[in-house]
Symmetry: C2
Subunit: 314 residues, 2 copies
């Protein structure tokens, strides 16, 4: 997998944004360490997801590209596939529930994807997606349980390790585990002495339980404001890589996530969505003790105004 991450790193050069590192004196004082924020909220489409989607679609052969790609997602992966497809001249179809927020549907269509609605009560999105692929011949680009996607997501930590020397700890949000698996492989190959810890909302703690028990666990309806992590379980390949390369997975409360979004807004002037703020939530709440040089992946910044307004009003 590390070879694939290195190849993805080259492939994304000049295509993905090399996102900046921000620091905050207040944050450093609060946690008693040097903290480096890797700003994937400044990535194209506003989240790290562009890395994996572009890496996957760019490796399709001519025939596959001509047939187009398809994915199921109502979040950042949908927009990532849509934009990567547009850049590579590949038609994209995104399967979304009928009750997906209009803003997400419009954003995905804005990047040029065709959106197909389905009734969440009648069939699973995976079933719909597979049936459509069988009919139309498109290649499915799953949001996380897919080697080329994992390899692409791992490039954020490749960049981080080039940008910041001597890191002791990296904190990474966990949903389906694409970002965490790729980050862990990159970290342990480039700088094995650096610890890597996943952070997950307590209201959807399947990854932490899976990690602890060594058996893939799931959660039926994750209850969290961190919509990017509302997956039922880790991907299979993701779990395998996470077990092998990740040092720990910790959980944080909803209050800690909201505190982190507020802190990032007021003190760093960064728009970071709840899922993207998990690492900062872990540090500020004490769920993870900072090491002398700690990096946090701020994984995305796509947050409805109403969500932020609600968080800032509390």
């Amino acid at each position: 997998m590390f070879d694939e991450i290195q190849a993805a790193h080259d492939r994304l050069d000049g295509v993905a944004n090399r996102t900046p590192i921000h620091t905050s004196r207040t944050l450093d004082e609060r946690v008693g360490a040097q903290v480096f924020l890797k700003c994937e909220n400044f990535q194209r489409v506003g989240a790290f997801k562009f890395r994996g989607a572009y890496n996957a679609i760019s490796q399709l052969d001519e025939r596959q590209r001509a047939a187009g790609v398809l994915t199921f997602s109502s979040g950042n992966h949908a927009q990532a596939v849509a934009l990567a497809g547009r850049l590579l001249g590949v038609e994209t179809t995104v399967v979304m529930p009928t009750d997906a927020p209009v803003i997400k549907r419009l954003a995905t269509e804005g990047y040029g994807a065709r959106v197909v609605e389905y009734d969440a009560g009648e069939a699973s999105r995976e079933e719909i997606a597979k049936r459509l692929c069988a009919e139309g011949g498109q290649t499915l680009i799953p949001p996380f349980d897919y080697a080329h996607v994992i390899a692409g997501q791992g490039t954020a930590v490749m960049e981080l390790l080039e940008q910041v020397e001597g890191l002791d700890l990296i904190l990474v949000p966990v949903g389906g585990g694409g970002l965490l698996a790729g980050s862990a492989v990159a970290c342990k190959n480039v700088r094995p002495e650096c610890r890597i810890v996943g952070v997950e909302p307590a209201g959807g703690d399947d990854a932490a339980r899976s990690f602890r028990t060594g058996v893939l666990q799931s959660v039926d309806k994750p209850q969290t404001i961190a919509d990017g992590t509302r997956t039922n379980s880790l991907g299979k390949l993701n779990f395998e890589l996470i077990r092998r390369h990740v040092d720990d997975i910790r959980t944080v409360s909803e209050a800690a996530i909201e505190d982190a979004v507020r802190f990032l807004y007021y003190r760093t002037k960064l728009v970071v969505e709840p899922s993207g703020a998990l690492g900062v939530a872990a540090l500020l709440s004490g769920a993870v003790e900072a090491a002398p040089r700690t990096a946090v992946i701020l994984s995305g910044g796509n947050m409805d105004g109403s969500t932020l307004a609600a968080i800032l009003s509390r």
Copy 2:
């Protein structure tokens, strides 16, 4: 004045943040030019004001430092003076109206200043400040009509011209004119072929009228969400420098300002307060036509959650 800006540039090296330049493909497409955003929202205290305050206080002699400094402001200048004073070991007093927002008072006190309240109905803040200085011997650090403050503010454009080559146009917010005056002197000395244009809310268009008529104009009660520009008129020294070095001053509507704050939130993931978004408002609304390489000073990012919530809900 340019010598003083150069000296300030050296003085602030390693003290002020060298704020980054951000770009946005969407913004470039919308205005048909390359746009460079100078992110003073990432400056210490969240606004360019730190530059001027630190430059002014650091030039006081021993006796003056021992007696402390005083200013009148309920905005970013208050926090800037408070932090600069703390860094330089100088006691700071800030005169604020009794009805100033609690959050601004707390922030100013948080940086270590003593806050003195006054009743806005009984006396002007200038009168109160002068009386307190006469009694206590402090040096007054005015928010804009003061050479050392103007010189400090000019360092943002000094940095910008080091960071981005070949600029054709720089857009700068105007309130009292400290940032615009300093920026204009820096611009015309370093890169005279680059145009520099001030942007002001239409609801407080005293600077545009002053510039047009050549006579200092004032506005009684500026009506604008851009609280950083709610000054009654330009400073005298500021106006003199602006007349000599600025190419034009344009106004934008309240709707254009709010559109710009929303655009910056959703598309660039930057928290930028209304006053800081004036330049982007001018470009997006067409009040100023972009030149091929255009820079915009995003002057600050201190915005109450309720203000942003209101803007995002519209």
